[in-house]
Every structure is written in structure tokens, then in C-alpha cells.
Amino acid sequence: MNFMGYRRTDGAIGIRNHVLVIPSVVCANQVARGISQLVPESTWVEHQHGCTQLGADAELSTRVLVAHGTHPNVFGVIVVGLGCETLRAQDVAAKIKAKCPYKPVHLVIIQEQGGSIKAIANGASAAREMVVAASCLAREPIDAGELILGTECGGSDTCSGISANPALGIASDLLIDAGGSVVLAETTELVGAEHIMAARAVNEQVAQRCFAVIERCERLAKSMGVDMRGSQPTPGNIEGGLSSIEEKSLGCVYKAGSKPLQDVIDYAVPVTKKGLVWMDTPGQDIEQITGMVAGGCHLVVFTTGRGTCCGSPIAPTIKVATNSAIFDIMNDNMDLNAGTIISGEETVEQVGWRIFNEMLLVASGKLAKAEALGFNDFAINRIGPTI
């Protein structure tokens, strides 16, 4: 089973061909935006980090920025720095170039250019050159087994665990059967369901990792000294009928389908194993997408009951509504409707196949609505303070 994608020089496959503008520090955000505004075919990210971060926290932010540059959905990169930041733009650019020597990488340092206007002009000129070069590349048939899918649920309601998540689980199984990889994440939303994942682990070590990441997550929540409810589940989840994190998690876990759990990996670590992998991310939707994409996910299927519009700047984010009401109300942002399961019009299996087929269409170039609307949500999980 094939889709049409881009084969990069190092053998990696991409399903998009983006020119990405990355600020290495919060102070370069506005210039990054200015560059992308002058070259509409490019895309950009903004974030709150890049300076006065310490140790592992600085390393993690760097890794996520670099990973978005080296991602196979990205044709070329413009890295923008201010000139004095901790996460130096020249280091980020060098790391991207070292991993992907074939990729055009252009560096803009605002202080060296002489301010924002000149920096934007310099970056836009390079971006323009890159988007023209990118437009000359052609797609070719690629086996679906080379895809890495990120799974996510956000704005969940009680339909999530009954309709869209089980259907996504079917699609996950289909991709794994085809030889691909599927990432399950949002560790908080597996609290109460970790024993289910541990029972599916391929070995004892992976099973122990399931309990370890949940224990760490719960310890973090308890350290705030409050009842987790109101944050997890969120007020919207509670209004939607979810009464506890256990209930939410038991619905969330259906996204993972039925295949064995191959590995439990940390936030933004590259996904290397075939099959189902659990990435330890927070439940916050954007931090989760960012971590999964940094780990190599080509696309994300995102189920939602309350409705959410977000999308990764470089990985198509396909929205599956859990109920028909939200599919109709927020149709501008919903790609697929799993609410037909609730009404009895379709089975979980039928919707699962629909999701899988949509994944192949989107991988081949069909735009997800979040892409068509230009959503470029980006957030890096912080594990340390700004000093």
C-alpha cells in the first residue's frame, strides 16, 4: 500500500516540503514572523524559550528546535537568532546542517544584520530562494510502512472513548500491520490505564517504564498540593461528562489500538522502533504535538469532542470529531466525523478504515483543515525554570 511522498537524499521520507523559519530564542520571534509574512509559502514557529535556560532544560529546547529543522517534512530552514542568546542560532543551524547536509540552512543574526528590518529582508531573500527550489521537487510512490503517526486526543468528552478513540485505534493497528510506527503520548491521560499498557509491553523492561513514567507524572501533579481535577480533567472535559482522570485515561488508551507496546521513550526523542511506541509527554495539546513531531511523526490524527483548531506547522494535523454536533458546529476545523458511531450509522471499524484512508490521502498531499487555515502551533515542554 503506497502514498505519494518525498524521498530525501539520506533516505528519509517526508509528506510535506516546508521551508521553515525557526527563531532560536524568544527575542527573534517577530523577525521570524516578518520573514514568513514576506514569503507566504514558508511557515514559521514562535516560542517562549532560548535564553537563560539551564542544563537539561536548555538541551531539551535545543533538541526540539533542531528536530523541527531536520524533520523530513522540511525542505529548508532559516534559523533566526538575536545574537546574544543561550540557545545560539549558529549552533542550532550547525546541528541541523550536520544531520542533514543536503538541506539548505540559512542563518540570520539580528544584531549582525543591523536590526529587525534588515534581518527580515535577509531572511526573506533566502526563504524565497528555498521555496522556489522546493517547488521543483516531485512526489514519488512510497510504502505506507514508512509513515510515523502521532495520535492525540484534545478537548475530550465522554464520546472520545466510545467513538473517535477506538476508531483511531483501528487506524493505528492498520498502519502497524502495514509496517509503520504509531506514537501514543500524553502520559497524564494514561494515569489509571497504565496497567493496560504494561500488560501489552513486549518485555518486562518496557512494562516497568510504563509504571515509572506514570509515577513521575503523578508525583509532579501531587507536588502542586491540589486536586488534579480542574486541570486534569479540564473544566471542559468535566462539562463534557468526564468525572476523573482515570475515566479520561481509560477512554484515551483506546487510541493505541491493540498492538504490543514496543517502547516507552522520553519527550521529543526520535522514534526508531516499528509498531506502537509510548512517548512521555504532558497532556497539554500543543506541547504534545511538538514533542511527537520532534520525534519524527509525519502526521497527527487528533480526536476531539469539545472541538479544537490547532495544528503543527510542519506535520498535517487531522481532526476527528467524536460527535456529530461538534463536527457540524466546528466544521471549519473538523476533517472527519466519528459521531456516526454514536448514532449507529457506522461501526468503529468502518470509521477506523475511513481514518486510515484519509491518512494516506493527506500523506500524499491533501491538506488537513488546520494546514489550509495556516495553524502553526508550537510549544516546547519546559523542565526547568528561566533564570
Partner: protein, 90 residues
Amino acid sequence: MKAIDNVATVVDNVEPDTDVVADINGKNVSVRINIKEKIPFGHKFALADIKKGEEIIKYGEVIGIATADIQPGQYVHVHNLDSRRGRGDM
């Protein structure tokens, strides 16, 4: 839902004193319950008597503990169900 569940989810807004049928796990075993209170779409009601302190079961798994006695057909949510995880307040 699973056979050992003691709550079920409504797939429509339900008014008090309505009879509903809960379809257990696609088998031809259904339970008829009279709903006692107004229950919004997607929210839960009890299928059986649940005593205060007893586990509340959905998907065949524990989703929380009853904080009051609950009768069949009564609304089950954060007012009478307590989570046991992530409780920094305990």
C-alpha cells in the same frame, strides 16, 4: 461498556423519569433503568446500587470512588464520584 460496569453513559440529553435501555457490550443483554434526574448528553447514570466508598466501574475498570450512596438511575459525576489519582490535596 463491559458487563461489570455499574455506570453507563447517555447518548442524548435525558429528562427525569425517563426509561432507558443500556446495551451491554453489544450482547443482547439489556438493562432497563428509570432515570431519576436530568442527565446531559455524554454524562453518566448508575446501573445499580452503589454504596458510599464503593468503586465505580466503567470500561470494566475503576474510574473512582462513590462519595455518597447512589441509587440506580441517579446521575453520577464529580458531585458523588471522587478520583483516586493525582490527589495532591489528600
